[in-house]
Amino acid sequence: MGNGSKLKVEICLGTTCFILGASELQDLAQYLEPELLDRVDIVGRTCLGFCKDRKFDGAPFVRLDERVVIERATVTRVTEKIKAMLKEKDAE
């Protein structure tokens, strides 16, 4: 995989996600341990599209490696999931 097989972390910074908590997720990089930080690629997105059709309940959304969607994301939950997915990757 490109990018040295880094785990892609997409943080939704669309308005809905932003006011329902993503304003804090913006700083995710600050909370990750350096070893983890080296292995992820954090990008901000304007609306991942999950909030449409009035399904805002799950916001804020974070997507990992284009396949795993975390609903009601918090720094802690995202960090845990990142660790788990990196472990999976290592096992592969």
């Binding site: 910074l13 669309g14 308005t15 809905t16 932003f18 006011i19 329902l20 908590g21 304003s23 804090e24 901000g44 304007t46 609306c47 909030c51 449409k52 009035r54 805002f56 309940d57 009601r72 918090t74 720094v75």
Partner: protein, 481 residues
């Protein structure tokens, strides 16, 4: 630090989105009494003792969004749709802006001092000797405080070799600069509106989210639905609150139902100019002091609790006051809505005929979300950006003094008086005492900029991002231009 009130904040915002969306769609009558049930279904774990309590708290929060306080509840069985019907008819926004929900208030412990199980019931028992009221006795396992005797002096905490005695604060009381929020005999908190300055610090401090804001959102939506020209007067502190540029915000506001965006920074310019002039005049006539007046929580504090200071508070209208005037001069028929991070501005607006309603950044965010407006993807309206960069700095601490200094350096030939400015921020108990001393002329300084919130308005109780980040954004834009 991610803010501790995360869960509470999220619930508050989710409720706002649901109410706004329902009211815009015209379906709120049927939905509103179901919102607590939809948000707290019985098959999911409760965040308080049980889902029923969770729902009861949500009901009070919804009452707040409709503009009602707990004090307005006469019949517990009255459904929310009846409150909604009353809110739609209301012509005057509520005069009190906060309330405390009884079921949500956990009733934090009475006494501040508690002996933890780190206590070894030691032989020396320094705590019993240090206590001036003999409130501590040592049992076989642990020492105990007789709370009827304890006077909260805290002497015992310093002498225990195990550091077993701790002070447990009551967060809302600790945060309140005036002592307005207090317990009744049953342990629940009430706000005494004779001394409350509407600063909103208790709202931010309560970890149970028991303090409610009384919103005016129903009125704002009504004005939009009636097809009125609704002008959004955005506070300087808005920069950095949303992931968007000022241009994108202007377009988003238009899509949300406002007719125009008016930057309160342009009102701030007038405030700075006239406040500088007023400062000259006051110094010339021999006053030893003048203070800013743009923070309504501070002005309330003076009115209610520091009467000595009254004659030194500037008479110049606040940026919000000037902006309202500008908007109404252009179109007396328009509806003016101030949008900021502030609870106290709601109070100020009550006595300003040019400001019809006040919304918070949080409520604006919910309006964007309810309308599915995604600011980041908008192209943005062309703005003139005519506000003076100094005026934009009003939202952050020291901004007022800087703007006035800038005005003074403009120089009209006369030599300006020496300005010895001091920033009093935030408004806490210690600074309340300092203000008294300043009023009596016992401290140096001839100009005081007073802001109730930590870091200035960017640290306001209804800001969306933390004060540090918001402040940096405000200062950045102020300097860029």
């Amino acid at each position: 630090m991610p803010s501790m009130n995360n869960a509470a904040e999220r619930v508050r915002r989710e409720l706002l989105i649901r109410v706004i969306r329902g009211e815009l769609d015209g379906t709120l009558d049927q939905e509103i009494d179901r919102i607590p049930i939809v948000m707290r279904p019985s098959d999911q774990p409760a965040s308080r003792c049980c889902v029923y309590k969770d729902r009861a708290v949500l009901k009070y929060r919804l009452m707040g969004i409709l503009g009602f306080g707990v004090e307005d509840e006469t019949d517990e069985a009255k459904p929310l749709r009846e409150y909604l019907a009353e809110a739609r008819l209301r012509r005057e926004p509520p005069r009190e802006v906060l309330s405390v929900a009884p079921v949500a208030c956990y009733g934090c412990i009475e006494s501040h001092y508690v002996i933890t199980n780190a206590c070894r019931a030691c032989f020396a028992r320094p705590c019993t000797f240090s206590c001036p009221k003999q409130a501590i006795t040592v049992g076989p396992k642990q020492a105990e405080i007789d709370h009827s005797k304890c006077i909260d002096c805290g002497k015992c905490t310093t002498v225990c070799p195990y550091k077993a005695i701790i002070r447990v604060p009551i967060p809302c009381e600790e945060a309140c600069p005036t002592g307005a929020i207090r317990k009744d005999e049953s342990g629940r908190e009430w706000i005494n509106f004779d001394t409350c300055i509407s600063c909103g610090k208790c709202l931010k401090a309560c970890p149970f989210s028991a303090v409610l804001e009384r919103s005016q959102i129903i009125e704002v939506i009504r004005a939009m639905k009636e097809g009125r020209r609704v002008v959004a007067m955005v506070a300087p502190a808005i920069i950095g609150q949303f992931p968007a540029t000022l241009e994108q915000l202007a377009e988003g506001l238009r899509m949300a139902g406002f007719s125009d965006m008016l930057e309160v920074a342009s009102g701030a310019e007038l405030t700075a100019r006239n406040e500088a002039k007023e400062f000259f005049e006051r110094m010339e006539r021999g006053d030893h002091l003048m203070t800013s007046s743009c923070c309504p929580a501070y002005v309330e504090a003076v009115r209610k609790l520091i009467p000595e200071m009254k004659k030194f508070v500037s008479d110049t209208p606040s940026p919000m006051g000037y902006s309202g005037r500008l908007a109404k001069e252009q179109d007396p028929e328009c509806v003016t809505v101030f949008i900021g991070p502030c609870v106290a501005k709601r109070k100020e607006a009550c006595s300003d005929p040019n400001v019809d309603y006040v919304m918070t950044f949080e409520e604006l965010g919910a309006l964007f979300a309810a309308r599915e407006i995604n600011l980041g993807t908008l192209e943005g309206l062309k703005l003139k950006r005519e506000a003076d960069p100094y005026a934009r700095g009003f939202g952050a601490g020291c901004g007022v003094t800087a703007a006035i200094l800038h005005e003074m350096s403009g120089g009209e030939g006369q030599t300006p008086p020496r300005i010895d400015g001091k920033l009093i921020n935030p408004l806490d108990r210690k600074n309340m005492r300092l203000l008294k001393l300043h009023a009596l002329g016992k401290l140096p300084g001839n100009f005081l900029e007073v802001m109730a919130c930590e870091g200035g308005c960017v640290g306001g109780p209804c800001a969306l991002v933390d004060a540090e980040k918001g402040g940096a954004a405000v200062r950045k834009l102020a300097h860029e231009e």
